[in-house]
């Protein structure tokens, strides 16, 4: 699946926020970390805000954000609710901290902070459990988020403890970072092995072809799920996720524990945090890269397909040129016409593309392709008045059936009535090869549009051409 960076950032910052609050809650339960409280709350709040902004960027209609509370049991709604609960707990902690005589929040607030911090991460992971994506549909995902929160929160705690010289928190933050790091290493190994053995969870369709994605190879699910431990993503996993993301911070936490000095805590903690952050991002990216649907016709979901097939660019001029190449004609600006291989492409005097940003199509104007009707062999015009239809042909192999006459978005495709009346569903195909080279006349779809032809010719060229058009119509093409 395409990497969804807003969601990657969202889950990461939520883990930072939850872990920081949970670490501070643990210190409150132990009656320690008085000087760390305000900085920890600030870091947790800031991480929550940054994560919230990140997920905002993911939404197409951010102004409808409050619709997100419309389905109480959906994962996203629960995330929203727990974010609000988290913010309330932050405020509660702050108030109770000030209210306390010792200046440290009471133990019960510490417990609430731990629960709120870790629950936020667990709910976030739970929202990604989708049976359509076997790699994500495992309890290891929320477990990873919770453990990652503990790890990142402890490392943040080390940095804060060293920075504010809160000596009673030096040892505990380092120990938690050490233990959480070791647990994270184990969790990641279990998760990677689990993914590696998920090949049987995908439907086995050995050979298939998707004409909407002709340049995308078949999904090899065994290669995808096997890529983490020993395949193409093994280096990223072992070096990035485990070595840099876990082993290095764990070693640094151990050294900080032994040093038990503020300066060491800050330096080791900051370096360890940077490495853990890198590992966290790499693992989240890997989870997106191996996300394949249970019915594996596409990498991830079709609308968020693999990066190998970015959507075609939409600059209008380029599309115009490509359309002409496809049909074997030159770019014809502003009222000129050209002829190649028996095909004539004529354009009106004003741009008529029906895309946003283009001038609106003048009424009655259209482009026309002239060729020979496959049924009666007479020269005919095939008219399009919306180039969206042409662009489809450029990028895909399509089959058009007789009888389609569609005016949606101004597309207007006339099919020879004789062909239609024959009853047989007539199909024309523009193959990929034909799109790239000037096609011979017989291979394109030429139909007669006699009535349109007459009308256009009458408007543009006067009645003389109309008579000529009518003579052609009378040469045996039924219904013209």
């Amino acid at each position: 699946m395409e990497l969804q960076w807003p969601l990657i950032l969202f889950t990461f910052f939520l883990c930072v926020a939850g872990g920081t609050l949970a670490m501070q809650g643990l210190l409150a339960v132990l009656g320690r970390g008085k000087q760390m409280q305000v900085p920890s709350l600030i870091v947790a709040a800031a991480a929550l805000v940054v994560g919230g902004i990140s997920v905002f960027l993911h939404l197409e209609h951010w102004e409808r954000i409050f619709n997100g509370f419309g389905h109480i049991t959906s994962g996203i709604t629960l995330e929203f609710i727990f974010c609000i609960v988290f913010a309330v707990v932050l405020v509660l902690y702050f108030l109770m901290m000030h209210r306390s005589e010792e200046g440290v929040a009471p133990k019960w607030v510490g417990v609430i902070a731990i629960v709120a911090g870790l629950a936020l991460c667990a709910v976030t992971g739970d929202s990604y459990l989708m049976s359509a994506l076997p790699v994500w549909d495992t309890v290891m995902l929320p477990v990873y988020y919770v453990v990652d929160a503990c790890f990142l929160g402890a490392l943040v705690g080390m940095v804060i403890a060293g920075a504010v010289k809160c000596s009673d928190a030096f040892a505990i933050t380092s120990k938690v970072a050490l233990v959480a790091g070791i647990v994270q290493c184990v969790v990641l190994v279990i998760y990677a092995v689990l993914i590696n053995n998920m090949g049987g969870m995908f439907t086995e369709v050995t050979y298939y072809f998707d004409p909407t994605l002709p340049d995308v190879g078949m999904v090899d699910t065994d290669a995808v799920v096997g890529s983490i431990l020993t395949g193409s993503n093994a280096l990223a996993y072992w070096a990035g996720v485990q070595l840099v993301g876990v082993v290095v911070p764990v070693v640094l936490a151990f050294l900080a524990l032994r040093a038990n000095a503020a300066a060491k805590l800050v330096s080791y903690g900051a370096l360890g945090l940077a490495c853990a952050v890198a590992g966290a991002f790499i693992w989240r990216c890997l989870l997106y890269m191996v996300a394949v649907l249970a019915l594996p016709f596409f990498y991830g979901c079709a609308g968020l397909t693999a990066v190998e097939t970015p959507r075609p660019p939409r600059p209008p001029v380029v599309r115009h040129l490509a359309v002409h190449r496809c049909l074997g004609a030159h770019l014809v600006p502003f009222g000129l016409s050209t002829k190649r291989n028996g095909l004539t492409l004529r354009f009106p005097a004003a741009p008529t593309l029906a895309f946003p940003g283009f001038p609106s199509r003048p009424k009655g104007r259209s482009a026309a392709l002239q060729g020979n009707c496959r049924h009666c062999g007479n020269p005919r015009l095939l008219e399009w008045s919306c180039y969206a239809a042409l662009a489809e042909i450029e990028f895909l192999s399509l089959w058009w059936t007789a009888g389609i006459e569609n005016r949606t978005r101004g597309a207007s495709i006339r099919i020879c009535p004789a062909l239609r009346n024959a009853g047989a569903p007539l199909v024309f195909r523009l193959s990929r090869a034909e799109q790239l080279t000037p096609p011979p006349v017989a291979s394109l779809w030429e139909t007669c549009t006699c009535h349109i032809d007459v009308r256009e010719k009458r408007r543009e060229h006067g009645r003389q051409d109309e008579r000529a058009a009518r003579r052609r119509c009378s040469r045996g093409c039924n219904g013209c």
Binding site: C301, L304, F395
Partner: protein
């Protein structure tokens, strides 16, 4: 109320892509988005064959929203934009959609697409605007091989209807569009074991595919 679905006879489907094109035409689907797409499954070597041509088999598979009985997309939607309509189809209220695309991730069949101009997710509506008026979905009406039939599951798949003349296969197009035939009267005989569904990950897809003996169902 009704429980609408579509059945596709894969032994008749020729992969003409008429359904794909008809859907795009009638619904104005964005370039690059496909509410229904026809895949080619195979060719695969036949069992107990030589392992290579000519002992191969293939079929075409139109994949669209399966209007599931237990839809994952509805479960994950935070705004209830994706919902189960009264007629059993899954519809999207575009006024509510926030474009989070979680439904697109949750769909096992990859048939949901973001409409980048309207910034909401779209998918097959089973041509709600047509079936409410007693017409057939466009992909059924336009099927090049008369392989697709539409109807109410509560009345049995045998009674699903397609646009064809019961007596005259070669009738004129305009006449054909005004007539209906039932599945059991039009296609070759089939049994319940010939009726298949796409991979079920707990979502219980409702759309059916008939694939008779001779070809192995793989999806």
């Amino acid at each position: 109320m009704a429980n609408y679905a579509i059945v596709t006879d894969l032994n008749r489907c020729t992969g003409c892509l008429a359904c794909t094109v008809a859907c795009k035409a009638i619904n104005g689907v964005d370039v690059g988005n496909f509410w229904i797409k026809t895949l080619r499954i195979g060719p695969h070597p036949t069992e107990s064959g030589s392992g290579h041509y000519p002992d191969v088999e293939m079929y075409f598979l139109p994949v669209q929203c399966q209007h599931c009985s237990n839809p994952e997309c509805v479960r994950v939607c935070p705004t209830e934009a994706s919902h189960v309509a009264a007629d059993g189809t899954i519809q999207i209220d575009k006024e509510k959609c926030i474009g989070c695309q979680f439904c697109a991730m949750a769909c096992p069949y990859g048939v949901r697409y973001l409409n980048e101009s309207e910034k909401v997710v779209e998918k097959c509506t089973l041509c709600e605007q047509r079936i409410q008026q007693g017409e057939l979905p466009q992909c059924v009406a336009q099927c090049g091989a008369r392989a697709r039939f539409f109807g109410d599951l509560d009345q049995g798949v045998d009674n699903f209807e397609g646009p064809a003349h019961p007596d005259s296969p070669g009738c004129q197009y305009d006449e054909m569009t005004k007539t209906r035939v039932k599945l059991k009267d039009y296609v070759e005989a089939y049994t319940s074991s010939d009726i298949h569904h796409l991979t079920d990950t707990g979502n219980a897809p409702k759309l059916m595919y008939i694939l008779r003996e001779g070809r192995k169902w793989r999806a």
